[in-house]
Assembly symmetry: C2
Homo-oligomer: 148 residues x 2
Amino acid sequence: MSTVETERPLRIGEVAELIGTTTRTIRYYEEIGLLPGAMDREQGKHRCYTQADVERVREIVRLRDLLGLSLDQLSRLLEAETARAELRREWKLAESGAERRRILDEASAHIATQLELVRGRCHELEQLESELVAKQELVSQRLAELDR
Amino acid sequence: MSTVETERPLRIGEVAELIGTTTRTIRYYEEIGLLPGAMDREQGKHRCYTQADVERVREIVRLRDLLGLSLDQLSRLLEAETARAELRREWKLAESGAERRRILDEASAHIATQLELVRGRCHELEQLESELVAKQELVSQRLAELDR
DNA sequence: CGCTATCCTTACGTTTACGTAAGGTAGAGC
DNA sequence: GCTCTACCTTACGTAAACGTAAGGATAGCG
């Protein structure tokens, strides 16, 4: 689906442009283990990325901006996801139902962790929002009183 | 209301303890203008804080943790609020209704700015949440399929 | 095969948001 | 008045998250 370009490998500059970040940032994330080391790239050769890789980076940047985590914490949060990406390939090879169940259970747990974090943040923000609304109403009320 | 202690002035260490931060942080925030310079303190004398000051710091820390802003951006966001705190004192002296209206209008605009920011963040997080829920459901579905 | 743009690695530089240490002072209690 | 603790200022240190510059290799194109 999507484009006609059936998965043309992207270079790091294109990825950076697409996401709205810099090549340095992407290399840095690879350096600290946030991004898998483009697997089996030989020393000196160009990194190349798939569309899935781009999504991965996009997701990282998003989480970085939305949650207040350090890249280190983020790294730990996504560790499971990194493993999950690898499990995706195991998935098709997994013959036993038990294996498949385990993989799904892990994925589920991982998503649950993220959800908990996101919901916590969300509630805090909603709390803040309602407080601001209350303030706003108070001011409006004062303004109304001036008009009487 | 609240405590019997009718507004005992607090020292910086107590404030830090109350809020769960450090004295260094508080001094730093004062240094960069996030906190008003405890007004008219003479060189070398101890800083002392009112309950209102504590709330101010608490609010700053909260915004710092919740929104993804630099202290510099935060400073600009709260500039209006800093002015507003001063206007509170002007408030009781403001005789003309026009003056009062202006003050209230400014307060309202400032709160609106904050609200916009908070709501934006909130929506982004809700978006992320719903995406995670969708993922979660997909996994659950797969698990259910295994049971058939 | 050569050209050029983009990429590679290495490594030092920079900003933000504090931590920490040194040497001296204020102020509450006795 | 003295003491002891928490505070003061000054200033250097630091971890995180990249920025930036140098010197050289790669890969797509003609």
